[in-house]
């Protein structure tokens, strides 16, 4: 009987204005059968500091956050 813990980014969404939303799922498994799972969500705005953000999400952010997307987002927020 082996109890294991698995953590994975199981959802990433990029909105039209460049917001990146992602969900981290943590699953507790016993012999491959899921006993329980919990979720943690985050959202990131264009050009936000990515320190501590999972690599998979960072890669998406770097692709989505072109200079045009960042400039347009800053225009709409007055940043």
């Amino acid at each position: 009987m082996a109890i294991t813990k698995e953590t994975a980014i199981d959802q990433i969404t990029v909105t039209e204005n460049g917001i990146v939303l992602y969900r981290e799922a943590t699953r507790i498994m016993e012999d491959g059968v899921e006993l329980t799972k919990t979720y943690h969500r985050n959202s990131l705005t264009p050009a936000q500091d990515l320190t501590g953000v999972p690599d998979k999400v960072v890669a998406i952010c770097k692709t989505a956050w072109t200079s045009e997307v960042i400039a347009k987002y800053n225009e709409t927020t007055g940043a």
Binding site: T13, I19, E34, R41, T45
Partner: protein
């Protein structure tokens, strides 16, 4: 296959898959579902713990006004907004529950010494767990040890604005419900 009715005794999990769910059920009812029984809808694997209804991990959105198509609960991390003055180290925590298109959030932003909102209508935190379509601004309330102030969401930027100022204390707590 049409599921008409069922009586379940003992401990069991029921999975009503997409094939059954795609049909219009005939009149019938679950009359007894034993304790510690979970039911998966939309092909979801029934939870191994507790008793209740398990929804798919990814919402299968319904346009029908009488259909509950999603449930999810979890945590989120509020990030520091430009309008939040932090003395010391910033920390935060939050929880959310999504029922259908309704999202209720709770959050806390803290400073190891203090946090304060010194100007009105500024972003004091960001990182909402869900962004939205439709209406963008939803009102809520923020509170510290001495002051209660209004706040509002801006879903397109997943940010929360403080309506008024809040004096320096260790924590600011806030809550709101919005629709996506």
């Amino acid at each position: 296959m049409t599921l008409r009715s069922a009586i379940i005794t003992g401990t069991a999990n029921i999975n009503i898959n997409g094939t059954v769910g795609a049909t219009t059920p005939s009149t019938g009812a679950f009359t007894t579902v034993a304790a510690n029984t979970t039911v998966g809808v939309g092909g979801a694997t029934p939870s191994a713990s507790g008793a209740g209804i398990s929804f798919p991990a990814t919402q299968s959105a319904s346009t029908d006004a009488n259909t509950l198509d999603d449930y999810e609960e979890g945590t989120w991390t509020p990030s520091q907004g430009a309008g939040l003055t932090v003395v010391g180290t910033f920390s935060s925590a939050g929880t959310y529950t999504k029922i259908g298109r309704s999202v209720t959030i709770y959050g806390r932003v803290s400073g190891s010494t203090t946090v304060a909102v010194t100007a009105s209508n500024t972003v004091f935190c960001a990182g909402l767990p869900f962004s939205g379509g439709g209406d963008n601004v939803y009102p809520g309330v923020a509170q510290n040890n001495s002051t209660t102030a209004g706040m509002f969401t801006q879903l397109t930027t997943t940010t929360i604005y403080a309506v008024g100022t809040m004096p320096a204390t260790t924590n600011i707590y806030f809550s709101t419900t919005y629709f996506v």
